[in-house]
Symmetry: C2
Subunit: 204 residues, 2 copies
């Protein structure tokens, strides 16, 4: 029997890795589709709003990486236990995404002079502003980003913070031992550790 879930993305960790972590964590079998550049133009037409990742289940499909992660987190027991708890998780996830989008904008800046200025601002202001606050949250919340326990916010941070370094070209967590330790803790969960060993090796 085919797995109940099919997750389509490119052959990167990128925006699909949070979902892959969650599926592995929950022991949910899934079809891990890696779309090639050759296949993409044709497939793009069939995807809602022409983007990946897309999750398929029960004949239905849905896009948007964070929405998919939130859904899967509920299936594997890494969501909140009431509406306010879920708000707390969602708020921290969207904040981490804000930082991701700011760094992504630098990565895509084509004007070299402007890129240099943006990188300086990121190093002096943006990254310290966000990372210092996230570090404090983890220190005060039992080593986690939300609710003082393991949630999908920890999975989200762990799977996107590598991209921060990639976009920024440096170690964003250099002065953040608690965030580093959180990332290590997630990566060493037995199901995640096993997944990291067997997953396709990609640059980002």
């Amino acid at each position: 029997m085919a797995p109940a879930y099919k997750l389509s993305y490119f052959n990167f960790r990128g925006l699909a890795e949070t979902a892959r972590f969650l599926l592995n964590y929950g022991g949910i079998e899934f079809e891990d589709v890696r779309v090639t550049q050759e296949e993409w133009p044709q497939l793009k037409e069939k995807m809602p709003f022409g983007t990946l990742p897309v999750l398929e289940h029960d004949g239905k499909q849905a896009g948007q990486s964070i929405a998919i992660a939130r859904y899967l987190a509920k299936q594997v027991g890494l969501a909140g236990k009431d509406d306010w708890e879920n708000l707390e998780i969602d708020a921290i996830v969207d904040t981490i995404n804000d930082l991701r989008l700011k760094l992504l904008a630098i990565h895509f800046e084509k004007d070299e002079e402007k890129k240099k200025t943006l990188l300086e601002t990121a190093a002096k202001e943006t990254i310290p502003y966000y990372i210092t606050r996230l570090e404090t949250i983890v220190q005060q919340n039992n080593g986690h980003l939300a609710l003082g326990r393991l949630t999908w916010a920890d999975f989200y941070f762990t799977t996107v913070c590598g991209a921060f370094d990639f976009f920024f070209g440096g170690d964003c967590l250099a002065n953040s031992p608690s965030l580093k330790s959180l990332v290590q803790k997630v990566n060493e969960l037995p199901a995640i550790k096993k997944w990291i060993e067997i997953r396709p090796k990609t640059e980002f």
Copy 2:
């Protein structure tokens, strides 16, 4: 007795209006705090990650406009009835937010020459790409953006699409009768109509 909810934002509709619509729709009394530019520097320090809107309830506070809207939607019966339904709503909301962020980037572009190019691309590609697809969804889904019925995705679109025109400097829905009709339908819900009459008049 003070209202159970306090919503702080600047004196704009902006990123708080979805939450204000939802609170009004649900008949939930709330303190509608409008922070002035004079008050902001001091208050900023006390807000998670120094941004607004922030929702306060029961001694707790949470930021991020979309996360707040999702939470309030659950309180007022405009969320999905299961996890997959909520995924469908979340995916369309995040897609609308993608469009919002693309148009916002144009608005903030300082280089006039580059801004002109970006506006052309928005007019010829970005806006038609998103709006055509959203229009089709509404046509095929009983006049709604998700689940074929009124959800907070409709409230989100209605409260942010005015900003699209503001950022873009034109009528983004000029060729989209179904989206226009959806916006009108939401604005004419009795509780919303009443809110629009009494809310502070602001530019955006």
